[in-house]
């Protein structure tokens, strides 16, 4: 659930998503759900010539399972806070396993 909450804090930011089939899409992150499915608005496909089928698409729902990377604006990520939260979550998980 940690990354779900993390992505929720990034809504309305411009992100670039790379899919497992190498398509890269830049757009405004509109929403994200528990499976990390992502909804993007005002999209722009990088290297559009290779993917003509996306030429007239304006917004997009991407299934979480096909995402390879999400590139985030550096200024919007509080790395310290995220590190902290990640460790806490990991400790929590380890505690549960025992």
């Amino acid at each position: 659930m940690l990354f779900f909450s993390f992505f929720k804090t990034l809504t309305n930011q411009t992100v670039t998503i790379e899919l497992k089939n190498d398509i890269r899409i830049r757009g405004i992150l509109k929403s994200v759900d528990q499976y990390l499915n992502i909804k993007l608005d005002d999209i722009e496909v990088l290297d559009l010539d290779k993917y003509p089928h996306l030429s007239s698409v304006k917004n997009m729902f991407i299934r979480g399972s096909v995402v390879r990377y999400v590139m985030l604006p550096r200024s919007e990520v509080d790395v310290g806070l995220l590190e902290d939260a990640t460790r806490r979550e990991a400790a929590n998980q380890a505690g549960k396993a025992r």
Partner: protein, 178 residues
């Protein structure tokens, strides 16, 4: 995370309480547009479900890309939380090299796991077809596509054998993605 999900003074509480706060904020009964103590504004949690994401795409003309590389253009009529979809008046658009062809298909019921992405077509721009592709007869495109596919398949196979000889596991073994 706490920055948006819990009030600012949560930092001073003990970790267990913080934990509780965090989970509580994710629950369906979470607070309204502002945080409980007037913290930063929050979007209602029901915004963040698959259903909410698909709701505003309903009855719109969409491009659906499937895991096997098929591109379908149709009107989204129904869906569920797994992104299982029903498309009406579907046309399959086959691309090969610099040409494409349309094949009328009718109703499509797609199992969610096969969905790669779903894009809403901008009706004002839908006729602006990129100059890099031109429409061609189906038979011609299909033949070209078959050649492309077999070429890619043998290339993939070769790469996989070479990679596994070096001890690498292919990135998406067994899954066809393009």
């Amino acid at each position: 995370m706490e920055r948006n999900d819990t009030p600012p003074n949560a930092q001073q509480r003990n970790p267990q309480q913080q934990q509780f706060q965090q989970q509580n904020a994710l629950g369906p009964a979470s607070q309204g547009p502002t945080g409980p103590t007037g913290g930063p504004p929050q979007l209602p949690p029901q915004m963040f479900t698959t259903a909410a994401q698909l709701l505003d795409l309903t009855d719109k003309k969409l491009v659906l890309v499937l895991r096997d590389g098929r591109k379908l253009v149709g009107v989204l009529r129904s869906w569920d939380q797994f992104a299982n979809l029903v498309l009406q008046d579907t046309v399959e658009r086959i691309y090969a090299g610099k040409v494409y062809a349309d094949v009328p298909r009718g109703i499509f019921l797609v199992r969610g796991e096969n969905v790669l992405l779903l894009g809403e077509v901008d009706l004002d721009r839908e006729d602006e077809i990129p100059t890099t592709v031109t429409k061609a007869p189906f038979e011609e495109v299909f033949e070209l596509k078959k050649q492309e596919d077999s070429k890619r398949k043998s290339g993939d196979k070769k790469r996989h054998t070479e990679l596994s000889a070096l001890g690498f596991e292919p990135e998406h073994s067994g899954e066809i993605l393009f």
